[in-house]
Symmetry: D2
């Protein structure tokens, strides 16, 4: 019988908030479509216990890879609490989500990619769920437009939203809500008439990072069952080698 | 006179917690030694104001680049509050810090690099300072040692500590405190007698991520003026393609 | 009719080797299994032409996303040459590939992830195909073992192989060939009897980066239809904060 | 006396092109100014020798950290050949280089950062030197300008140049040469009159990646003592979530 070092008693008197694994990459199925997830899974450890049993976390992902949903992740979190006799468990999975979009004039179709994180914090009696998404956007500077005789600097930016709602919002709806706040949304395929439309739309809708963050927050506040949010907008300024950002939490 | 779009009134009723710049890389001098810092600087913005004046943040870094200390950063934070009429300002600077170390037997000298973050949160009346450090270490698995007839798997790991103390702890002391908790500290130059000493020391001091995080916490709790800490230990397991981690906050 | 700036004449007299797009992330199917690819696609541009038509590259990926194979990529490369009237086209796609592995004693199953690149260089008359793979491994230092009374430092490493063969080698075979050269292969799920076996196997098979690179080369040289190879082994040393590497090309 | 495993004979018959260390971060002084370098150093290894002596590489960096110049690196390369009895040695060092720039109207001063690589390939009898630089720029799309009634999409981009000349070109001259080819160079501090000037300048100088790469090549071809070059321009398109690129080598 091999010694079980992890199950030894620990006399240092320090409980561990989270212990587990990170960076486990697995093929997954999300909302019926395949993707690739990077998992982090952990559980609390009582002060008197020396170590956790790390292989349980991998087993949990392996067992559920064919259908990762917010509900499945919540169930995985509760199971980990039970199996590891832990007060709490945390699961995070980061995966790319794809939306097929039509170009605004030609109607041509291409997929745009979004990074999503789903996070579960479970206890034996309760479970919290949050989603995070990174939406790439285009922004055109209102100051540059107002002071320049021609043109206006614009750039790619990222809107990073973390959201807790009573019922998880569908990713497609969350993306659409965020893209409305930009000078323009982004596309994978654009023909010349599309490029003209996107250029003019952005010029007609200038927005600072301050404007984008506020417009996203206005829309999030209208969501039913909203519990909390954090919005972080970052612009890869085309006139500087550093970025502009704005954050609102609520 | 050019229009000042940023100074327009905003009627959306949403105050912004932080708005500013990120990713500004600058040559700096820290504790008398040159380094390279990556700055993030932001300030709050009242609900009624449309935008902040981003160039002020760069000017602040440019003016103080020749002597970045915890005290200077705190003074920069207070100045930003005044100049931008902001309720709060946040400054973070990330820089590599180097320690010249002697190999344990040969005494040969080489520099080891550590990533440090200094963070200031200032209001017109108060200022908080926190430091974060990433210390690379070696860990040897107690379970692998206990169950195997020969050898034991070991690997590089990172200890990430965030620390608030009444007076900032010197970086060299913080590093030494953390390295004591590892199976072995790391070196840049090792001759064969040094490699033998480091190998045997690690074998004699096996430690799980759970052990390392607890040993660091025990040492931090003894610090005078301790306000808060967070310790995150991550091992790049040599038997898996994913990592093990443990977190304790207090 | 919108102006076609890309189709203007260029009088600077400089032909462009490659022009196209990078960083296009798309859901793909590889060898019947879903994955996520990051594409780079480009084509040559004659000295007299001002620009290429970038949307063609996205259309090509969109049309073939449901079955990416070496053969399909080669056909895509030839098509791009024709459609863009280009002398050559280059396609690279980077994707994670997963192998279900059994732990050596318990037989438990978990997926291990490998980064793969498939690259095509096409002309109207010919097409070259190369594959690149990154295989994570464990290595145990022969010097540390030889000089130490107990233990030996070991660590995770990466073997990066680029390979051109007359017929593309199946990824599973390439991975197995490379893993044989390590002190030990890696696993996602290991129970204690497995961990004992892996620890002892690594201790019994010490290998420098120099040894691993040579063992991989010996195996590649026996492949039928071998055209060229490059092998780069990198160890994340557990006694240093820098890495060791070795490269052989042939 | 400890066993010297590296000095054992090897019977596998495979010479190693390069073996050494990577990712060694060190404080350095370049052109009289402090910076932080990340070093890679390697040497060839004859088929009959089992291993190289890795600590020599660190010692070489440690000894020369106070004055890294192209000449010093070349001398380090020749020394490594001699000390390791190697047919060739390769050194690469990657470091940020800072240029103080005046804003175009206000004259305000701020530093802009550029990533530089210096590379030496040495044999006992000869030495080659190459420099690589990444210059961030702004580009404005000629097609978008031509077809749109107002505005034009623009974005940050990177020009990556690799250059071999008989005598190393001063970094400041190389940067200026590259920035001339962009729609606009970038700045760290811009006041409103500067932002107006930069916006209008970019609008008046639209450039595809194809244009930028050709303009850089035209200027490089005029350099005295030119041996070889590679130019890679990449735009972080503000209308797509992928990038455009163009490469010319000569």
């Amino acid at each position: 019988m091999l010694k079980d070092t992890q199950s030894e008693r620990d006399s240092r008197g320090i409980a561990i908030g989270q212990v587990g694994i990170r960076g486990l990459r697995y093929p997954i199925v999300v909302e019926g479509r395949p993707s690739v997830g990077i998992f982090s899974l952990g559980a609390s450890l009582a002060a008197a216990e020396r170590g956790t049993h790390m292989s349980r976390f991998v087993e949990s992902v392996h067992a559920h890879q064919n259908g990762i949903t917010p509900e499945v992740l919540q169930s995985m979190g509760r199971q980990l609490c039970r199996k590891l006799k832990a007060d709490s468990a945390v699961i995070r999975v980061n995966f790319p989500f794809f939306v097929e979009k039509q170009a605004p004039v030609s109607g041509m179709v291409g997929s745009v990619d979004y990074d999503v994180v789903w996070e579960v914090i479970a206890t034996p009696k309760s479970v919290q769920f949050a989603q995070e998404i990174q939406v790439p956007i285009g922004t055109l500077c209102p100051c540059s437009k107002a002071i320049s005789e021609r043109g206006a600097h614009n750039q790619r930016g990222h809107v990073n939203v973390r959201l807790e709602t009573a019922k998880p919002l569908a990713l497609g709806k969350l993306i659409a809500l965020i893209e409305e706040a930009a000078s323009s949304e982004l596309y994978s395929v654009l023909k010349r008439p599309d490029e003209k439309a996107v250029t003019e739309r952005a010029y007609d809708n200038p927005a600072f990072v301050e404007d984008v963050v506020r417009e996203v927050v206005l829309r999030l506040k209208k969501l039913k069952g909203l519990r909390s949010f954090s919005v972080d907008v970052e612009n890869f300024e085309s006139i500087h080698n550093h970025n502009a950002y704005a954050i609102v939490q609520g």
